[in-house]
Structure formats: structure tokens, C-alpha cells
């Protein structure tokens, strides 16, 4: 167990390092001149002279070879220093970290709502015997992942905030401001988990032990909730890392639609200003969330399913978990019979 956990931790660190490296070279070495954009912000359209530019370059360390720049940046990043924001001049990490709680509120409530609705949805679709209702329940999640969230957000905004004035349209004040964005952000999560769980339940319900339980007189509802769900939920748990990633990506869009403060808004502004340190923080933070959730999920498996012997390949995820529309029955994790 300890060896397994260490291996997973090492792999997680490797992914984080690789993410940092790839993003660093993408942002710092590939494009033109960070000094230009930095100097450009201060002088506001005034003609730049070469001496100024050289000074800024030296300040940012851009006059040094890429590899030296990278090693320095990596050393600093390990100490939590990702450089200073080009827009504000304050440390990029702090700027980002201050916005994290707001996004956490949004993404966290969307995750809870999404999982609850998605799981209930799949259970209902599996439980009902009316074919038409089942078809409808199974078809809707596929539509749910096809809808542009920014569009749904704008439509809800139009009705609930502008027409009926029930909920605030913008800002981070209070629970009311959280309702609409969290609901919209929950749609893809709910659709995805409903799709994954209903496929998984479909397989489980055909298992012999389900038939045995029914033969012994357990009702359909009892078999579903008491026997099938726990065995079928694992693919949903497996997809949690992906879900967290989707929520971070989705909150970028939601924070824009509902004019909320948060890491999404900061990321968009950073891309607009080509504020590379902040973009770097955003990407590495997203990877950190993904890697952490996956580590937790890996440690969670044995609690849900004691049959699982911890021998799964590192970070092997079903492709479908990332692409809900393509979701195919997800095999249960390796179990020893």
C-alpha cells in the first residue's frame, strides 16, 4: 500500500513538473516579447526606445538563455514564486490564491448539485419500467453536454435577473448570486455523471448476484439502492478528476457570464493582457487540482470496493470519462475474484 501510494505521488509530481515545463516553454520561449508587453503597459502607446526595452528585458531576465530562465523559474516556482503579474506588479501566486475561495464556492456547489442530480437521474432511469420515460431520461444527459453553458447562463440571466428580478445578475454577494452560475455549471457535471452511472448500472443490473437478490425477495428499489449502486458508482468516482477539470474550465466561462470574481475571471484577464506569470499559475493550478483529486480518488477506491487490489495502471482513465458523449460501458476496476 505504501509503495503504491509513493508511486502514485511520484507520478503526480512528474505530471505537475511536466505541466510547468511545457507551459513555461509555451508561454516564455515560443511567443514574441514579454518585455514589449510589459513596457507597453507602462508607457501606454508612447514610443519605446531600445534602452528602455533592454532594461525591462534585463529586469525580467529575458536577456538570458532560455534554459537558464527555465531553471531559475523552476527553482522559484518550487518556492511558490511564479513571478510578478505584468498587469498589477503583485506576485502572481498571491493574486491567484486570493481568488481561489470564490471559485471554490462556485465549483464546489456545482459539483454537489451536479453529482446529486446526475446520480438521482441515473437511478430513476434505471428504476422506471416505463420505456418511454426511461428513453427520455437517458436521452436528456446527451443533450445536456451539447448545450453551450454560456448561452444557458445568458437565458437564465434574462429571465431570473432581468425579467423577474429574483436573483442578482452580477457579483459575488451572498448565496443568491451563487444560485444561477452554480446551477448552469452543474449541467455538464450532472449530464456526465448521469451518463456514466446509467451505463454502469445497466451492466451491473445484469449481474447474477442481482438476480439472486431479486430471487430472495428483495424489491427492485432495494436491489438498486442496496446492491447495485455501490458497485456501479466507481466509474463516476474515477471520472471525478476529469469533472474537477471541467468545473475549473467551466467556471472560467460562468464567471465571465455572471461577472463574478474568481480564478476564471483572473485567467481571462491574464490572457487578454498576455500576463504570462498568471497564465502559468492558472495552468499549473488546474493540473494540481486534477492530480490531487486523482490521488484522493485512488485512495478512495478500496473504501468503496474492498475487492480492488491496488494494481491499476497510473492515471489510466477510460477515454469516455473525458468525452461523455462517447461514453462506453466502463469496465469495473481490476478485481480479484
Amino acid at each position: 500500500m505504501l509503495r503504491y501510494a509513493t508511486r502514485r505521488l511520484l507520478h503526480a509530481l512528474l505530471v505537475l513538473w511536466a505541466t510547468f515545463t511545457a507551459t513555461f516553454f509555451l508561454l516564455y520561449v515560443l511567443p514574441g516579447d514579454a518585455a514589449l508587453s510589459k513596457a507597453g503597459v507602462g508607457s501606454d502607446g508612447a514610443a519605446l526606445n531600445a534602452a528602455d526595452l533592454d532594461r525591462v528585458r534585463a529586469e525580467l531576465g529575458l536577456d538570458q538563455p532560455a534554459l537558464i530562465q527555465y531553471l531559475k523559474a523552476l527553482g522559484n516556482a518550487l518556492r511558490g514564486d511564479f513571478g510578478t503579474s505584468i498587469q498589477t506588479g503583485s506576485p502572481a501566486t498571491r493574486m491567484y490564491a486570493e481568488a481561489v475561495p470564490e471559485t471554490l464556492k462556485l465549483a464546489g456547489s456545482a459539483l454537489l448539485v451536479g453529482l446529486a442530480v446526475g446520480i438521482a437521474w441515473a437511478l430513476l432511469a434505471t428504476y422506471t419500467r416505463r420505456n418511454l420515460l426511461r428513453q427520455a431520461l437517458l436521452a436528456l444527459p446527451a443533450a445536456g453536454v451539447s448545450l453551450p453553458t454560456f448561452w444557458i447562463g445568458l437565458i437564465l440571466l434574462q429571465f431570473f435577473s432581468f425579467r423577474w428580478q429574483l436573483l442578482p445578475a452580477i457579483g459575488n454577494e451572498g448565496v443568491q448570486s451563487l444560485i444561477l452560475p452554480a446551477l448552469v455549471l452543474a449541467i455538464p457535471t450532472a449530464s456526465m455523471s448521469a451518463q456514466i452511472l446509467s451505463r454502469s448500472l445497466e451492466l451491473t443490473m445484469r449481474a447474477p448476484y442481482i438476480e439472486t437478490a431479486r430471487a430472495r425477495g428483495a424489491s427492485r428499489g432495494r436491489v438498486l439502492l442496496g446492491h447495485a449502486t455501490r458497485n456501479s458508482i466507481i466509474p463516476v468516482v474515477t471520472a471525478l478528476g476529469m469533472t474537477a477539470g471541467h468545473l475549473i474550465g467551466g467556471s472560467v466561462v460562468m464567471e465571465s457570464v455572471f461577472s463574478r470574481a474568481g480564478v476564471g475571471a483572473i485567467t481571462v484577464r491574464a490572457v487578454n493582457f498576455q500576463d504570462t506569470p498568471v497564465v502559468l499559475v492558472a495552468v499549473v493550478f488546474a493540473a494540481l487540482v486534477f492530480v490531487t483529486v486523482n490521488l484522493l480518488v485512488d485512495l478512495l477506491y478500496p473504501l468503496i470496493d474492498p475487492r480492488i487490489r491496488l494494481r491499476r495502471a497510473p492515471l489510466e482513465r477510460p477515454v469516455g470519462a473525458r468525452r461523455p458523449a462517447a461514453q462506453r460501458p466502463v469496465a469495473a476496476p481490476e478485481a480479484t475474484a
Binding site: A22, L30, P31, S146, P148, I155, F162, V252, F290, R322
Partner: protein, 289 residues
């Protein structure tokens, strides 16, 4: 008629008849999806056929609601919104195609090499894919836009790069599957070169599932592209692009509901249609992924 021919006739006759009216009518959703996609195709190729209005010039009153004359109403500058959506189609469709082709080509190449060469090459390439999987696609796209600059083509490339991982994984698993089959093993004993085996035997057999994935990615790419241009990273106005049309309408939610709602509806309908078709292709070919 030989015996074999008559056997063929029996075998093939029902199969030829099956995609007939009855079978098509059993899937009304699929028919509707194809109609939507056909409309989008016509709008992208021959926008003039669908509307006579100028997408960039003032053609009516400002903020006129939808009517027979202006199907989608007019915008804050009096431009016909339907014409803007129709003329914007080409750019959106082009962006989607670029995105899918970038993901398909680069991803397939990575998956092909990783699966076929194996060993440390596989390890290294798959760790790169792990990075692409660890970061949400929207953030990968945003990082690339920060590096490449704004514009619809850059958005498309960025979205395509975000999609590399899924193509690489499907291609790799297909290649691994095919590499293990008897007929590929036989090529080794027949003394056929590895490159030839790759191009003549492995690639054609692996192509199917990857192409089905490409159809699935069409709808998702449209969602990503329009979300990014909604966020304002697309081609600057007045060029009409679907996502930026929705963004332009958000300031007029109360005064002119149609400005954000109708272009968004077009995006939603197109994604739904594309996904519906992709799903039926997926089922018909029973893809393994």
C-alpha cells in the same frame, strides 16, 4: 448466375433495402440532425442562398424584433441578425474543422508512434498525453491563445491542441490491439518492413474508430470554439462569428432578447445535431473505445 452470386444476392438484398424509408423514419431525430447539418453546410458554402441581406450593412431599424423581413430581428446597429449568423457560419465551421484536423493529425501521429514503437518512446509520449489530460482543455486553449495571440484561427488551433490527448489515446489503443493480431505478426515472418506494415496494415485498420472519434469531436469543438470567441478571443468585430454574436447580444438581454438567444440557439442546435449523428455513427460501427 453462379452459386456464389446467388448467395451474395440473398445476403446483400435485405441489407441494401434496410436503409429505406421505414428505417429512416424510425429515427426522426437523426433525420432532423442531418437537415440541420445540411443547412449549416449550405450557410457555410453559399450564404447568399439563404439570405439576401448584407451581414455588415444597416438593413433595417435598430433592435427590431424578429419578423418575416428579419427572421432573427436586427442588432443594435440595425444589421440583420439572421444574415450575420448565416455569414458567420463559414468562420465557425472552418474553425471547427481546423480544430478537429489538428487534434486528429497530431493526436493520431502521437498515438501511432507510441503504440507501434513502444518501450521508452511510448512512455515519454504518454507522459506528454498525461499532461494534456491533467489540464482542462479550456485552459490548454487559453494558454495557447496567450502564446499565439487572438483570432478565430488561433482559437481553432488551440482547441485542436486541447483535443490531441483523446485522439492519441484512441489511436494508441487501436494500434496496440492490431499489433497483437495474427495477421500483423505474420507480416514479420513474411519479412515485410515495419514502415510498410504500419502504413498498409496497422493504419487502415486503426483509422475507423479514430474517425468516429473525429465526428464526436466536431460538436465538442464547436462548443469550445464558440465559448472562446464568446470570451472575446476571436476575430474582432464587425466580423460575425457565432460565439462573438452571442457575446455582442449580452449587453442587450433586456432590450433585445433575440440578439443573444437566437445565435446561441443556432450553436446549440448544430452541436446537438452533430452529436446525434456522431452517436449513431458510433453505434453503427460499434467502435472500441
Amino acid at each position: 448466375m453462379s452459386v456464389i452470386d446467388s448467395v451474395r444476392a440473398v445476403e446483400f438484398a435485405p441489407r441494401l433495402k434496410r436503409p429505406s424509408v421505414r428505417r429512416v423514419l424510425r429515427r426522426p431525430g437523426l433525420v432532423l440532425a442531418w437537415i440541420v447539418v445540411a443547412f449549416v453546410g449550405v450557410a457555410a458554402a453559399f450564404p447568399g442562398l439563404l439570405t439576401s441581406h448584407d451581414p455588415l450593412g444597416k438593413t433595417g431599424a435598430r433592435l427590431a424584433p424578429p419578423s418575416g423581413e428579419h427572421l432573427f430581428g436586427t442588432d443594435n446597429l440595425g444589421r440583420d441578425l439572421f444574415a450575420r449568423v448565416v455569414y458567420g457560419t463559414a468562420e465557425s465551421v472552418q474553425a471547427v474543422l481546423i480544430a478537429v484536423v489538428v487534434g486528429l493529425v497530431v493526436g493520431s501521429l502521437i498515438g501511432l508512434v507510441a503504440g507501434f514503437v513502444g518501450r521508452w518512446v511510448d512512455d515519454v509520449l504518454m507522459r506528454i498525453i498525461d499532461v494534456l489530460l491533467a489540464v482542462p482543455t479550456l485552459l490548454i486553449s487559453l494558454a495557447f491563445i496567450a502564446a499565439l495571440g487572438f483570432g478565430t484561427v488561433n482559437i481553432a488551433i488551440a482547441v485542436g491542441i486541447g483535443n490531441i490527448a483523446s485522439f492519441a489515446r484512441v489511436m494508441r489503443s487501436e494500434v496496440l490491439r492490431i499489433k497483437g493480431t495474427a495477421f500483423v505478426e505474420a507480416t514479420t515472418f513474411a519479412g515485410i518492413g515495419r514502415l510498410r506494415v504500419l502504413s498498409r496494415h496497422v493504419l487502415p485498420n486503426a483509422a475507423g474508430p479514430v474517425l468516429v472519434l473525429a465526428t464526436l469531436e466536431l460538436g465538442l469543438a464547436l462548443l469550445s470554439v464558440s465559448a472562446l470567441s464568446f470570451l472575446g478571443f476571436g476575430t474582432p468585430p464587425p466580423a460575425p462569428e457565432w460565439g462573438s454574436l452571442v457575446a455582442a447580444g449580452r449587453d442587450y438581454l433586456l432590450a433585445a432578447w433575440w440578439m443573444a438567444t437566437l445565435p446561441g440557439l443556432v450553436i446549440a442546435a448544430t452541436v446537438l445535431a452533430a452529436n446525434r449523428i456522431a452517436r449513431s455513427a458510433n453505434r453503427d460501427h460499434a467502435v472500441n473505445f
